[in-house]
Each structure stands twice: as structure tokens, then as C-alpha cells.
């Protein structure tokens, strides 16, 4: 009796923590399943706090996991699936921002920073060479 009451109480509360795949979700084809997993890691669970659909046990995440697998079985490419999801939910759904439009600065900035740094480094080395060993 108490057990049943407790189970009912348990069911009422919202979980704060995450889980991944539920039993029976995984595809039998190991190659497709591994594609599904790595794709799921790049898709944001829109109702969660910074979790991918692979990590979340929210209903939406589960639906999207199933949808991704369904599409993979039908033979869609990863790009097709991402396109379908962005059409539906916007770019927010992708953890890897697209390399386009207003995201170009996001992708290029780190490399520009690195190049500037290396350039400054080489400049200083060359300058010290010209100044001789003491100076």
C-alpha cells in the first residue's frame, strides 16, 4: 500500500536530472544506431537546460530521438535531418551552429585570434634577432 502511494507521489514530481535512451529505442543496425547517437548529441533538447536530446529524458527529447531514428532508417542523410529540424525549430536546435550568415564571425574569430598571436610571436622573435643578443 505505502509502496503504491510512494510510487504515485514519485510519478507526480518532475525529474531534475537527465538520462539518455530508453529501452527499446536503439536501432538494431549498429551503424545506423551509432549515426543516430552522434547526431543526437548535436541536437538540443529545446525544453531542457543545455542538454542534447541524447542526454535528456524529457518527452520532447524522446520524440526527437525516435524521429531521428525513423528518418535514418528511411535513408535520410545527417544533413537532411538537421535541415528538417531547423525548418521546424530554428537554428536554436543545433549545438553546432551553421557556418553561414551571422555565424561566420563565431567560427572565424578563434582562428583569427590564433593567427594574430602567432604573427605577433614571429614579429617579436624577428625583432630580437635584429637587435642582437643584448639590448
Amino acid at each position: 500500500m505505502t509502496r503504491r502511494v510512494i510510487l504515485m507521489i514519485l510519478a507526480l514530481f518532475l525529474p531534475l536530472t537527465a538520462h539518455s535512451l530508453a529501452p527499446g529505442e536503439a536501432l538494431s543496425d549498429p551503424i545506423l544506431e551509432s549515426r543516430a547517437r552522434s547526431l543526437s548529441l548535436e541536437i538540443r533538447c529545446l525544453v531542457c537546460q543545455n542538454q542534447s536530446i541524447d542526454d535528456s529524458d524529457a518527452d520532447l527529447a524522446k520524440d526527437l530521438r525516435l524521429l531521428v531514428r525513423e528518418r535514418l532508417v528511411k535513408g535520410d542523410s545527417d544533413a537532411d535531418i538537421k535541415k528538417m529540424l531547423t525548418d521546424r525549430y530554428g537554428e536554436f536546435v543545433l549545438f553546432r551552429p551553421t557556418f553561414s550568415g551571422h555565424n561566420i564571425a563565431l567560427w572565424l574569430a578563434p582562428f583569427i585570434a590564433l593567427l594574430l598571436g602567432l604573427f605577433a610571436f614571429l614579429h617579436i622573435i624577428r625583432q630580437s634577432k635584429n637587435n642582437g643578443p643584448t639590448g
Partner: protein
């Protein structure tokens, strides 16, 4: 009464901090020993008042005084004592009070430990630090008062978010803040040096201890936070590139750069401009991290716009303090500084490269964290920047960085003969290759990318160890006794650098070889994952101090642990009306067996999830090695 006393102490601390700031700066300008002396004393008074104030709040939490609004909204009678007390800093107001308490402690510690420093310089540092303290005390008193009363007092409080009711998360904020706030001393040092024209290597020698102290705390704080996320969030992830995590990673990366650049500056004043700038920016990043976490801007730009009071105040603190520091910096840069003399094969140039890589990494994390806010604020809609972005962008930085890293400790200042490092590092290459080959034997399906990653981590470990071995010429006569007589900073570097490799090995282990099992099981059903077999023995109900738990029991049927049991739990905290999953972890160096209890299905079967996380513990062991390296460095009399 005690609460009012705490409130009063906080207000008095604000006044004292203004006196400390004003008298310190005026005294230093007029060279008035009396004023400067008062300012020094004020640091101790301020620290004492803040301790008093903080204790009063802890007392209110301890006694569950629900007439205090903060206690009523964040605590509960049923909580165990430790979480009542730790709950003091498990909320915005209390954590900001902890922040200023740290400021007070660092100020007093600096005043007490700097008696050999020229008085005018001490007074400047303390004066600047006093005003930094004033701005935060003002922030607390005007926007986030922890002592606000709630009348009539409710009979019961709202409780503390159960995932925060955890020993690691009780210790996480104090460690993290001890790191963040430590950089306030570095910052005050930099500004004082620029005002005082004390920009020389003596200054750098003094400042580096404080850099190191802050860095050690920050390393421990981040490590503990990551460990908590690993076992508490239910599936064994250790880093999520969450903006809140990035907020602590940015000052850590910048602080690591500072730690290295200050070595050059402490030797002969070179890199002075860069070191000063880094000292300012590291603290700026600590402040920005606080702003991001505390203003609510992360949840959404719009939530921030609706309730901007706190965020705007912190933004104001950032703009004023960092703006002023940069103005002083621009003026100071007109002075002549020692020219950088760097030979490609000298230690200077490798430390410079270290800074290029770390500064790029800091920039990357900064942009990745703030770009979505920026895009959203400009009306381009919402985007997400997650782990795949950071992996893609940081990889090209890490690869050359880690390849070059082991050379650093071998190099002498200015110029080094290749013969000094050629043999030991060749040895490291051979050992690394052999280790990868050994892994290939154990796991034939290794794959080329993983093999290269492994090679990198072993290169870091053996390369770090090669430095003391090579410099002591271990394999020629008397080598062993020389090994124990090397300069202490070399041991520090060896430990910290090897720690990076150990951490990388842990990351590879759990990322590449994680095994996972998800099943729906009846009582008595057997399951297996990897080399392990288990039987599910069913679920029982347990009563905790302030929660009810369903406790699953999994018995090992094979392997070294045969007969042992894992007890993953699902807990319900009635007061807080929420549920947590408590994973059960079987800990060993080689692998963690990580079990979590899932939901009950309609046919009464129970979802069980078991992961094998190979080598995962090395992630935090590596972090610990880095922090230990920092401590060894601190214990050295000279830090080069």
C-alpha cells in the same frame, strides 16, 4: 537580534572599506605614514566585520530563522544540518556575501603578509582593493540584501534545490570564489604598480604568489564542480560547455596564461605590458563570469531586460573598475619598458607561445559563450553553441600546444642547445609510442584518431617526466641524488604538466570506450555490460533525513567485484517537491561502473541504466595533480 547585528556589520564594513580605500590612496599620494597605517588596519576590521556578518547569516540558516526572507525562501527545517549551513551560499544573496567575505579575507591576508613591501605600494594596493570591496558591498546592500526580514514569519521554508544538497556542492562555491576573488589582489597589484611606476621585476615576484594561490583554488573549484556534475546529473558527463561552466573556465585559462607570463616578468621585467594587461583581464573575466551567472542574462536576454537591476549594477562595476584600470594602463604604457629579447630556442619564446595558445583558448570560450547573447540581442534569433563547436575550434589550438608543451621546462632563458632535451624527449616519444602499442593490444579496434589522442596524452605525461629526468641526468653517476636536488619549480611544472596528460587520458577513456546498457528488467533478471554481469534484485523504499528513496539493488555476478552490490537511488524531496537520481558508482582506477535507476514501465518492469566509464577518474586526478603542482610551486622560495 543576531540578524540585525549581521546587517549592521555589513553596513559598517561598507563604511570601513570606503575609509580603507580613501585613506590608502590619499596616504600613499601624500606619503603620510599615519593615514596609510590606518588603511592597513582597516583591512583587518573589514575582514572581521564581514566574518561577523557572514556568521550571522550562517546562524540564521542554522537555526532556520524563517523571519529572514532568504532563509524562508531557501531553507527547510528538515534539512540535515550540513545543508542548512551550506545553504547559506546556495542562493544569490548568500553567495554574494561569501564573495565579499573572500574579498575581505584576501585584503587582510595581503596586509598581513606584505610587511616587507614598501609602505606606499602596500597602501595603494589596499586602497584600490578597499574600493573594489565597496562596490560589491554596495551591490549587496542595495540590490541583494541577505538580511531582509519577512514578517509575519512562515512556519516552514521553501527548501533548497535537492541537487545542491550534496557535499561536493557545499564546498564548490567557496573554492571557486577563493579563486575568482584571489585575482582581485592581482588586479589591485597591477593598478597600483601602474599608478606607482613600480613596473619592474620585483613587482612581478610579489604578484606571482597571489596568482598561484588564486589559480590553485580555481582549479580545485572547477574540478570539484565537474566531479559533482559527473555523479549527480545521472549519466556520467563531466563537462557540458554550459555558459555557467565557461564562466569559470575563462578566468582559469587567462589565469594560467598569467601564471606563465609573470615568470618572464619576474626574471627581468620583460613581457611587462602583457602581464599587466593579463592581470587586469583575468579579474575582468572573473567579474564577467559573475555577471553572467548572477544577472540571469544566460537564461534569456529578455528575462534580463525585464528585471535588470542586479545585472545593470554588476555591469556598472565591470565598466567602472575595468575601464579605470585600462585608462591607467593606457597612460602607463607610454613609459619605456624592457624590450623583449626572445630567441626561438629560449624559454621566453616558449612561454610566449604558451600565452598565444591560452589567450586564443580564452577568446574562443569567451566568444562561444557570449555570441548567442549577442546574436539574440541584435534580433537575429536564437542560436546554440555547444560541445561540437568547442571541440571543432579548440582542437587546432590544443594539438600544437600539447605538442610543444613538454619542451618548455627543458629550455634555459635565452638560448638552449638541442642536446639538452633531445635524448630525454626522444625517450618520451619512444615510451609514448610503446604505451599506445600496448593499448592497441588490449583494444585492437582502437581507431586512428583515438590512437593519436592517446599518443598526445602519453607525450604530455612522459614529456613532463622527462624534464626532471633529463635535467638531473638520471642515468649517469649520482643521478638519483641529483633528481632530488632540482629546483622546486621544476617539480611543480612536472606535476602540473603531467596532470594535463593524465586528464586527457581520462577524457579519452570515457569518451572513446564508454559502454552503455539500457534495459527494462524484472526482479531477478540478469544483464551484462562489458565484462560484467549483474542481477537486478529489485527495489526497496528507504527513508532519508529529508527525502524518500527508491533504492534499486544490483549484484555483481562476475569479475573482481563478484557478490558486491550497487544501490542506485531515485529520491523524492517532499519539501522541495522534486526528484533526483543518485547514481551508484563502483570506483576503481581503471573504470567506474556507474548505475542509475530509471522509471517504472507500465508492465512493472524497471528501467536500469549501467555505464562503464573507463579511466574516467583520471580526469579529476589530473586536475588534482595540476592543483598540487601549483601548491608545490607556492612552497618554493623562488618561483623560477
Amino acid at each position: 537580534m543576531i540578524v540585525e547585528l549581521g546587517h549592521f556589520a555589513l553596513i559598517t564594513a561598507l563604511l570601513v572599506s570606503i575609509i580603507q580605500g580613501g585613506l590608502g590612496l590619499i596616504g600613499a599620494r601624500q606619503n603620510n605614514d599615519y593615514l596609510m597605517g590606518v588603511s592597513l588596519k582597516a583591512t583587518h576590521i573589514q575582514c572581521f566585520l564581514l566574518l561577523l556578518s557572514f556568521s550571522a547569516l550562517v546562524y540564521a540558516f542554522w537555526r532556520s530563522d524563517f523571519s529572514v526572507l532568504l532563509v524562508a525562501s531557501n531553507s527547510h527545517m528538515n534539512k540535515p544540518l550540513i545543508y542548512k549551513i551550506a545553504g547559506t551560499w546556495g542562493n544569490h544573496e548568500g553567495s554574494m556575501l561569501l564573495w565579499v567575505l573572500m574579498l575581505g579575507i584576501y585584503g587582510a591576508a595581503f596586509a598581513a603578509l606584505s610587511s616587507k613591501v614598501i609602505l606606499a605600494f602596500r597602501a595603494r594596493v589596499i586602497g584600490i582593493h578597499g574600493f573594489m570591496s565597496s562596490t560589491f558591498l554596495g551591490f549587496i546592500l542595495f540590490t541583494s540584501n541577505p538580511f531582509e526580514r519577512l514578517l509575519p514569519a512562515p512556519y516552514e521554508g521553501n527548501g533548497l534545490n535537492p541537487i545542491l544538497q550534496d557535499p561536493a556542492l557545499a564546498a564548490h562555491p567557496p573554492l571557486l570564489y577563493a579563486g575568482y576573488v584571489g585575482f582581485s589582489i592581482t588586479f589591485a597589484f597591477a593598478v597600483a604598480a601602474m599608478l606607482d611606476s613600480k613596473m619592474n621585476h620585483q613587482w612581478a615576484i610579489l604578484v606571482r604568489r597571489w596568482v598561484l594561490v588564486s589559480w590553485v583554488f580555481l582549479t580545485l573549484g572547477i574540478g570539484l564542480g565537474s566531479f559533482w556534475a559527473y555523479y549527480e546529473l545521472g549519466w556520467g558527463g563531466f563537462w557540458f560547455w554550459d555558459p555557467v561552466e565557461n564562466a569559470s573556465l575563462m578566468p582559469w585559462l587567462a589565469g594560467t596564461a598569467l601564471l606563465h607570463s609573470v615568470m618572464v616578468t619576474a626574471r627581468n621585467g620583460q613581457f611587462m605590458r602583457w602581464t599587466l594587461l593579463l592581470a587586469i583581464l583575468t579579474y575582468a573575466l572573473s567579474l564577467i563570469g559573475t555577471f553572467l551567472v548572477r544577472s540571469g542574462v544566460l537564461t534569456s536576454v529578455h528575462a534580463f531586460a525585464n528585471d535588470p537591476e542586479r545585472g545593470v549594477y554588476i555591469l556598472f562595476i565591470i565598466v567602472v573598475s575595468i575601464g579605470a584600470a585600462l585608462a591607467v594602463y593606457a597612460r602607463a604604457m607610454r613609459q619605456d619598458m624592457p624590450r623583449v629579447q626572445a630567441n626561438l630556442m629560449g624559454r621566453e619564446s616558449f612561454l610566449m607561445l604558451n600565452n598565444v595558445f591560452l589567450a586564443t583558448a580564452t577568446t574562443t570560450v569567451f566568444i562561444g559563450t557570449l555570441y548567442p547573447l549577442f546574436v539574440d540581442a541584435l534580433g537575429f534569433g536564437k542560436i546554440s553553441v555547444g560541445a561540437p563547436y568547442y571541440a571543432a575550434v579548440l582542437m587546432p589550438i590544443c594539438v600544437p600546444f600539447f605538442m610543444l608543451l613538454p619542451f618548455g621546462p627543458f629550455l634555459s632563458w635565452q638560448k638552449t642547445k638541442a642536446s639538452k632535451f633531445l635524448k630525454p624527449l626522444l625517450g618520451a616519444v619512444v615510451l609514448s609510442a610503446l604505451s599506445v602499442a600496448a593499448f592497441w593490444q588490449i583494444r585492437p579496434s582502437l581507431g586512428v584518431p583515438v590512437a593519436f589522442a592517446l599518443l598526445g596524452s602519453f607525450w604530455l605525461i612522459f614529456g613532463a617526466l622527462a624534464a626532471p629526468v633529463g635535467r638531473a641526468r638520471l642515468f649517469s653517476t649520482g643521478g638519483l641524488s641529483r633528481l632530488f636536488k632540482l629546483p622546486r619549480p621544476l617539480y611543480a611544472a612536472t606535476l602540473a604538466h603531467a596532470g594535463i596528460g593524465v586528464m586527457l587520458l581520462g577524457i579519452i577513456g570515457t569518451t572513446a570506450w564508454r559502454e552503455e546498457l539500457v534495459v527494462a528488467a524484472n526482479e531477478g533478471e540478469q544483464m551484462s555490460v562489458g565484462d560484467y554481469r549483474f542481477v537486478f534484485e529489485g527495489v526497496s523504499i528507504h527513508e532519508g533525513p529529508n527525502y524518500l528513496a527508491e533504492r534499486g539493488s544490483l549484484k555483481f555476478l562476475s569479475g573482481a567485484r563478484e557478490g558486491d552490490r550497487l544501490y542506485p537511488e531515485k529520491r523524492v524531496y517532499q519539501a522541495e517537491r522534486s526528484q533526483t537520481t543518485e547514481a551508484a558508482i563502483d570506483v576503481s582506477l581503471m573504470r567506474h561502473v556507474y548505475a542509475a535507476l530509471g522509471e517504472t514501465l507500465e508492465d512493472n518492469r524497471r528501467v536500469i541504466r549501467i555505464w562503464l566509464h573507463p579511466l574516467v577518474v583520471l580526469i579529476w586526478l589530473g586536475g588534482l595533480m595540476m592543483a598540487l603542482g601549483g601548491m608545490v610551486g607556492l612552497s618554493a622560495r623562488r618561483l623560477t
